[in-house]
Amino acid sequence: MSTTTAETSAPVAGRAAAETPRRRVRRRGERGPLASLASHGVLITASLVAFFPVAWLIFLSLGPGKDDYLHPGRIWHTMTLDNYTFVLQHTGFFDWLRSTLVVVLGTTVIGVVIAATTGYAVSRMRFPGYKKFMWLLLLTQMFPIAVLIVPMYQIMSDLGLIDTYLGLILIYSTTTVPYCAWLLKGYFDTIPFEIDEAGRVDGLNPFGTFLRLILPLARPGLAVAAFYSFLTAFGEVAFASTFMLSDDKYTFAVGLQSFVSEHDAQRNLMAATAVLIAIPVSAFFYLVQKNLVTGLTAGGTKG
């Protein structure tokens, strides 16, 4: 969650920073080759540390035996894609994919749609109770899962929503909706007030201003909000593990755990599934991350 700070502060600096450090460093030109080498050394080490566990997982997913993770040497000679074909054909992979998509997309849509007007209201209007409301939004960010999980479990079982997609979507909305409202407020703050005033002058009421002027301008912000709801819902473990009982409704976070039980641990299949899950999500992450920065700097009528 909440790279609010990263994503919103970067663009402000973005344009200036793109040019200034270059000038500054060139003028000073103090960094000797040794310091440069040290920088590269540290960064390369850090990159290896960041990369290795993921690479290792990919490597293990190619080994055919379930205990190959203890004998990585064997994998070199017996490398195979059998794990992947097995996972795709004989496990609940596609069921999990469907459940994950339903839950995640549902959460994302609800989060963004419900939060958008609120983000606008708290960005533009000061009303009695404003501070309390903002404090409430902040407060919900720090709810440990342990606070809501027990009462939610009781309420959901009373309503018969245990083991349903709707139940999980509603639960995820408790985190994503306030968070999205918070994040969108930050984005709306960067859209100049003059646009609202222009709309007001042309006879739009606040809803009209919001719908016709601000919302189209805020598309990158909405994308950020959607993206973070997506990631939050996708990576959630505790509620999904507790509330989804039938194995064709598992989300990936639960399905992946099901490979290791007390009796059997199919670690090779688990690794293959993990890779299959990670590749699209990470690709999406990188794709969006790039668009986010440029989209954020291009927003509004600045410049």
């Binding site: 909440s2 790279t3 609010t4 700070t5 990263a6 502060s9 200036a16 450090p21 460093v25 000073r28 103090e30 440069s36 590269h40 540290v42 960064l43 850090a46 960041a50 566990p53 993921v54 997982l57 293990l60 993770y69 203890l70 990585p72 609120t118 209201a121 209007m125 409301f133 407060l139 960010q141 720090m142 440990p144 899962i145 342990a146 606070v147 999980i149 027990v150 009462p151 009781q154 309420i155 079982s157 639960i171 909305s173 408790t174 909706v177 306030p178 006879g203 009421n205 809803f207 919001f210 473990v237 593990s241 990936f252 976070a253 755990q257 690794a271 993990a274 990670a278 999500v281 990470s282």
Partner: protein
């Protein structure tokens, strides 16, 4: 001489309107805020129904002795009504001061504090170091950035399993340590090493966020400040100490607060890394979960009480943090 005409009402501004009375002002205030309230209504409803109601219900449960044997449940076609009863503050008293309270609560509390402090310090320190390195003009900067973000890009529940394979007895880490003739700890069995491993994995997962946030903060520092400092003869360390660090304060205090909240509430890493095997490495959140859902009978009341205590700790901490920041004339960026 031009007379402005209000487009909405068609009234001429030059005309003296009757001064609005008290009711008029109220009505105008209502009209003005009506939009705001209508716009926040959806979130307010969601918060009320999905957060406040369960919260109040949870609070009520903590005052009872509810567990999975006496709550309402349906077995087959038979519906069994709830039989739990009101016990007042007994749960809290038992958790905080009851027999073996140290083993059940305080030891986990201490470990949670250590865990949070160490993890956030490591996140911030390593994140700041990498951000400073990435903020230089450097060949391959973008490449490094992309690779370093990887732990954040891959979902945590995936990478934790990768770590589990690596940390397992006989896994790659111990094999490497063995090859170097270093001791090979039982990462996933021995309490100390379990904690060590948990902090290590969480650090690995949490650094990219800090790095990117602080990099954004570094880039927003005005470069003329560095030039001025240099003109005044400041050394590299002094520039870092008196320009960079103050410039990062606003971003830094925000990400530290977020980091503390997230680390304190971190569930997935410890839950997935150890499963049900490590009672002593559980932080309060995972411990509360275990009481409520990881054992039989499920102790709902105690679990909810832990949840309330956790929330109380966080709220108190955050209030003090904000007050402390305000006293130092800093504003939280969130």
């Amino acid at each position: 001489m031009t007379v402005a005409i209000d487009r909405a009402t068609g009234k001429r501004h030059g005309d003296r309107a009757p001064r609005p009375g008290r009711t008029g002002r109220l009505r105008r205030a209502y009209q003005k805020h009506w939009y705001a309230y209508a716009m926040i209504a959806p979130v307010a409803v969601v918060l009320g129904v999905l957060v406040l109601y369960p919260l109040v219900y949870g609070l009520y449960l903590t005052l009872t002795d509810a567990n999975s044997l006496n709550t309402a449940r349906t077995i087959g076609v038979n519906h069994i009504d709830a039989t739990y009863k009101f016990v007042g503050l007994d749960n809290y008293r038992d958790i905080l001061f009851g027999p073996t309270a140290y083993d059940r609560f305080w030891s986990h509390f201490l470990w949670t504090v250590v865990w949070t402090a160490v993890c956030v310090a490591l996140h911030y320190g390593i994140g700041l170091g990498l951000a400073l390195l990435l903020n230089q003009r450097l060949r391959g900067r973008t490449f490094y950035r992309l690779v370093l973000v990887l732990p954040w890009a891959v979902p945590t529940f995936v990478t934790v399993f990768g770590w589990r394979f690596m940390l397992a007895d006989g896994g790659i880490i111990n094999a490497a340590l063995d090859a170097l003739h270093l001791p090979t700890p039982l990462w996933l069995e021995d309490t100390f090493w379990q904690r060590f491993a948990a902090i290590m994995v969480n650090t690995w997962c949490g650094v990219p966020f800090m790095m990117l946030s602080l990099l954004g903060g570094l880039q927003s520092i005005d470069t003329t400040l560095y030039e001025a400092a240099e003109m005044d003869g400041a050394s590299a360390w002094q520039r870092f100490r008196y320009v960079t660090l103050p410039g990062l304060r606003s971003v830094g205090s925000t990400v530290v607060l977020l980091g503390i909240i997230w680390t304190f509430n971190q569930f997935a890493i410890i839950f997935l890394l150890f499963g049900n095997t490590a009672p002593d490495a559980q932080i309060l959140v995972t411990w509360a979960y275990r009481l409520g859902f990881g054992q039989q009978p499920r102790d709902f009341a105690q679990s909810a009480s832990y949840g309330m205590l956790l929330l109380a700790i966080l709220v108190v901490f955050t209030s003090f943090y904000r007050r402390w920041l305000n006293r130092n004339e800093q504003q939280l960026a969130i």
